[in-house]
Amino acid sequence: MAKVLMIDYEKCTGCRLCELVCSVKHEGVSNPTRSRIKIVKWEMEGRYVPMSCQQCESAPCMVVCPVKAISRDGGMGRVEIDYDVCIGCRMCIAICPFGAMAFDTLAKKVIKCDFCDGDPLCVKFCEAEAIQYVDASMVSAVKQVAAAEKFTGIMQKVAAAIATV
C-alpha cells in the first residue's frame, strides 16, 4: 500500500524545521524557498498550515505537462518529475491547486516533494507529529478516531452536566 503525508495543521507549532531539513536534505543549504514543504502562517491568529504535494490520484500537473515529464512512481505512489525530460515551462506550477509545485530560481528547476525516497525528513524531525507518513488507507481511520474522540468527549460533558442538574 502506498504511503502519503498526513498533515494535521492543528498540531503544527509553526517552527518551520520541516522547511529547513527539506532544503538541507535536497540542496545542502538552509533556504526555505528551496524547500518542498512550506508552512503557511496567519501569524496574528496563531494559525499555521503545512503545505506540500498531495500526490493526487488524478494529478493536474501530470495531465498538463506538455512533455510528459511527470509520472507516478509505482513503488512509492508518489508523483515524480523526470528532470531529463522536464523543459522547465512551469505549467505544472500554474495548475497545481495547492501551490505544491515550486520553482527553484537558483537551480532553475521545478521542485516538489519526493518523500525523501521513502523516509521523509520533515516527518522524522516533526516531534509535534503535525506531519506523518502513513498508509493512504490509514488517513481516514486516524481522522475518524480523532473526530469520534471529540464527539464522545462532548457527549460525556453533556451527560455530566445533566447529571449535576
Binding site: E10, V29, N31, M44, G46, K124
Partner: protein, 635 residues
C-alpha cells in the same frame, strides 16, 4: 556558506550604507551575535555619549549558527549603550527575524546617526533601503508588522520593530518581532526610537550553505532528542515558563508587594493551570521542538477576543506577585499591552509595584497619581499605569525614565524602596535565600538580570558528583561545589560558568532553554563545538568556544568600566541584607544575604575572571584573551 554573511554600516543622518565581509579571524575571536556585537560596541561607541543622542550606535545581529541545523538557532541580538543604565545595553530574542536576515545576506547591522524623520529599513537579498515610516509611526507592534507586509506585498517578511513606547523614549522600551518575541531589558527600543528608526523589515532567498549536510542532519536530530527528552523541556512545551511559578512561590522565592513579602498567598488564579484555561495551543521559534510559548485569547473585558502569546513566568511576577494582584485576566491583559506597546514587562511591573509601595507609605499621594488609587492588589491601577507609562502621562512619564531617574525626581527617600541593580529592576524572584542567584544579579553586565548568569539548576539540589561533572568542563575546576542552594560555597564558580555558557550561546544564536540553564542534561560546549563544525566548517574545540565567550564578556566589562562602572555597583540594595524573608517553607524563612559573605563571593568571582579587587581585568587577562589592544577598529 554560513560564514559569508555580511556586516552593513548604515548612517541614518547621511543615508550612506556600506557593506563588508566579516573576516574569518574576527569570527574565530567573537563568532557572531552578542560576542561580535560587544566587539563592535567597544569599537564604535565613543566613551560618555548620550544614550539617546545621535552618537550612540545600535547593533542588530544574528548568532553564527542562526538558520542552520542547530536546534532552536533563532536568536536575534540587539546592542548599544543602554538608555536605562548607561552601561552595556544588550538584548536577545527568538522568533524568525534573525534567520530571515541571514537569508537576506546579513549577520550584523551597525546603525549610526539619526534620521531626520521616522524611517524603516528594508533589507532584501543583499540590498538595503531606507524608507519613509510615516504610515507606521505611532502604530502598535502588531499593527506595524501588518502594515509593512501589506506595503511591500509579501506576507513572509519578518520585522523587528519598536512600539509606541520606543517612540516615546520610554527608557525600558523593547525591540519586538512577531506577536511577543521581546528584546527586553536595557531599553534597546528607546535607542531605536531616538534614531527615528521604527522598524527593520527583512526578506531573503539566499542560500546558507551547510558545510557537512548529512552529518549536520544526523547530529541535529541527536541534539533535538537530547533536549526534548528532558522532563523540563516537556513541561515547557506543554505549559511554558509559567510552570516555574508553582515551585518558586510555594517555597517562598518570589518578590511580593514590591519587596515586602516573599510569597503570594491565596493565589490559585496566578498558577500555570489557571492561565492554561485560556491557552489554545503552543507555538515556537524557528526550528525549535520545545515550543514553549502559549497562544491565548483574552476571555473578557475591553480586550475580549484579542489574540496574543505568552504570558511567561515574568508576567506572573510583574502583574501579580509584585503588585500583590491575584487575577489571571490582569496577567493576560498586562502581557498583551506590554507586547503591543513594546515595553519591558518585567521593568514595568517592578516599577509599578515600587510606586505602589511609595503610595502605601504616603510618599506618593492621590495628587501625584491624578486620583488613581495606586494601592497593592488594585488590578485596574496596574493596567492603567501600563498605559500611562507607555504614553508618558502623569506619573507614568516619571516612571518611564526608569527607577533611578524617577527616584531622583520623586525624592522623599523613595530610592530606599527601589529594587534594582545598576538602575535596572530585578526580576520578581527573591534571591535572599539563594546566594548564587543573588551574586548573579549583583554582577550581571547589563544590570540586574536573570538571563546573564543565573545558575537556575542550583535550585534543584543536584548531587555533588553531577555538579562536578557539569562545572568541570570545558575548563578544569576542583574547588568547592555544594548542592544546597542556601550555601555561599562554590557559587562564584557556578555564576562564572553560567555567565560564560550564556555568552557562548548568545554568540551562536541558540536559545538558552537548550542549554544547562534549566536542565542538567541539556547541551553545552561539547555539543556546540560539533554543531559549529558540521554547519559552518569552523573547527573550534569546546575550550575555544569557552574562550570566545570569556573574551566577549570581558569586552562588556571593559565597556562598562569605560562608562564609569565601579565595584560598588556590583551590589544589591539594602533590603537584601536588612530585611529577613517572612514567609515560605521553613528553610527559606528568616533569610537575608550576608554582606561580608557576598563581598567574599564577589572577590572570588573576580578572581575566576582574572579581574583585580576593583573588578578591572588584569593586564595578563586581556593579553591572554587577545583584547589588550582594543579598540582595534578591525571592523
Amino acid at each position: 556558506m554560513a560564514l559569508d554573511r555580511k556586516i552593513a554600516y548604515i548612517n541614518l543622518t547621511t543615508g550612506e550604507i556600506e557593506t563588508k565581509p566579516i573576516p574569518i579571524s574576527i569570527r574565530k575571536k567573537f563568532l557572531g551575535g552578542r560576542g561580535l556585537d560587544m566587539y563592535l560596541m567597544y569599537n564604535h561607541i565613543k566613551p560618555g555619549v548620550d544614550p539617546l543622542g545621535p552618537d550612540n550606535v545600535a547593533f542588530v545581529s544574528a548568532g553564527i549558527l542562526v538558520g542552520t541545523l542547530a536546534s532552536a538557532s533563532a536568536r536575534t541580538h540587539v546592542a548599544g549603550k543602554s538608555p536605562l543604565t548607561g552601561f552595556v545595553g544588550s538584548t536577545n530574542m527568538g522568533g524568525f527575524f534573525a534567520p530571515e536576515m541571514r537569508w537576506a545576506g546579513f549577520d550584523h547591522l551597525v546603525i549610526k546617526g539619526k534620521a531626520e524623520k521616522p524611517v524603516y529599513l528594508w533589507i532584501h537579498n543583499g540590498e538595503i533601503e531606507i524608507r519613509d515610516a510615516k504610515n507606521i509611526w505611532g502604530k502598535t507592534v502588531h499593527e506595524t508588522q501588518q502594515i509593512i507586509r501589506e506595503e511591500l506585498g509579501d506576507r513572509d517578511i519578518k520585522i523587528l520593530t519598536i512600539g509606541p513606547a520606543g517612540e516615546k523614549l520610554v527608557r525600558f522600551a523593547n525591540v519586538m518581532t512577531e506577536i511577543k518575541n521581546a528584546g527586553g531589558r536595557s531599553g534597546m527600543g528607546a535607542l531605536l526610537g531616538s534614531k527615528n528608526l521604527k522598524a527593520i523589515a527583512v526578506r531573503g532567498t539566499m542560500d546558507i550553505k551547510i558545510a557537512h549536510p548529512a552529518e549536520a542532519l544526523d547530529y541535529d536530530k541527536k541534539v533535538i532528542t537530547q533536549v526534548t527528552s528532558a522532563k523540563v523541556s516537556q513541561t515547557q512545551g506543554r505549559i511554558g515558563t509559567p510552570f516555574i511559578w508553582g515551585a518558586t512561590n510555594t517555597q517562598g522565592l518570589v518578590r511580593v508587594r514590591n519587596f515586602q513579602l516573599n510569597q503570594l498567598e491565596n493565589a490559585d488564579d496566578v498558577e500555570a493551570e489557571a492561565i492554561d484555561e485560556y491557552v489554545i495551543g503552543m507555538t515556537g521559534c524557528f526550528g525549535c521542538q520545545v515550543h514553549c510559548r502559549a497562544k491565548y485569547i483574552i476571555p473578557e473585558g475591553p480586550y475580549k477576543g484579542v489574540y496574543d502569546e505568552g504570558p511567561e513566568y515574568t508576567a506572573q511576577g510583574a502583574f501579580a506577585a509584585e503588585p500583590g494582584c491575584r487575577s489571571t485576566l490582569t496577567i493576560l491583559v498586562g502581557n498583551h499591552l506590554t507586547n503591543i506597546y513594546g515595553m519591558d514587562l518585567l521593568e514595568t511591573g517592578s516599577l509599578i509595584a515600587w510606586a505602589m509601595e511609595l503610595y502605601e507609605k504616603g510618599i506618593l499621594t492621590d495628587k501625584d497619581t491624578d486620583g488613581l488609587e495606586l494601592r497593592f492588589g488594585n488590578d485596574d491601577a496596574v493596567i492603567e499605569m501600563i498605559h500611562r507609562i507607555a504614553r508618558r502621562e502623569g506619573l507614568g512619564d516619571i516612571l518611564a525614565e526608569g527607577g533611578l531617574r524617577a527616584a531622583e525626581k520623586i525624592g522623599k527617600g523613595s530610592i530606599k524602596y527601589l529594587i534594582h541593580v545598576k538602575g535596572m529592576s530585578n526580576l520578581h524572584s527573591d534571591e535572599r535565600p539563594t546566594p548564587a542567584l543573588a551574586l548573579g544579579i549583583a554582577t550581571a553586565s547589563r544590570g540586574s538580570d536573570h538571563l546573564r548568569s543565573r545558575p537556575a539548576i542550583d535550585l534543584y539540589h543536584l548531587p555533588e558528583p553531577v555538579l562536578r561533572k557539569i562545572y568541570s568542563q570545558p575548563v578544569a575546576y576542583d574547588g568547592p561545589l555544594t548542592s544546597d542552594y542556601r550555601d555561599y560555597e562554590g557559587k562564584p564558580w557556578q555564576v562564572f560558568w553560567h555567565e560564560t555558557c550564556y555568552e557562548a550561546v548568545d554568540c551562536l544564536g541558540i536559545c538558552k532553554y537548550h542549554t544547562t540553564f534549566l536542565g542538567a542534561t541539556l547541551p553545552n560546549f561539547e555539543e556546540w563545538s560539533k554543531l559549529l563544525y558540521y554547519n559552518t566548517g569552523l573547527e573550534m574545540s569546546p575550550l575555544d568556544i569557552w574562550t570566545v565567550a570569556e573574551r566577549a564578556y570581558n569586552m562588556e566589562r571593559l565597556f562598562n568600566l569605560r562608562e564609569g562602572l565601579t565595584r560598588d555597583q556590583d551590589w544589591l540594595v539594602d533590603r537584601y541584607f536588612d530585611e529577613p524573608t517572612k514567609l515560605g517553607i521553613p528553610g527559606i524563612q528568616g533569610k537575608t544575604i550576608n554582606r561580608e559573605k557576598l563581598k567574599k563571593m564577589i572577590d572570588e568571582y573576580y578572581e575566576h575572571h582574572g579581574w583585580d579587587e576593583n573588578g578591572v581585568p588584569h593586564p595578563e587577562t586581556t593579553k591572554k584573551l587577545d583584547i589588550d589592544k582594543e579598540p582595534s577598529h578591525m571592523l
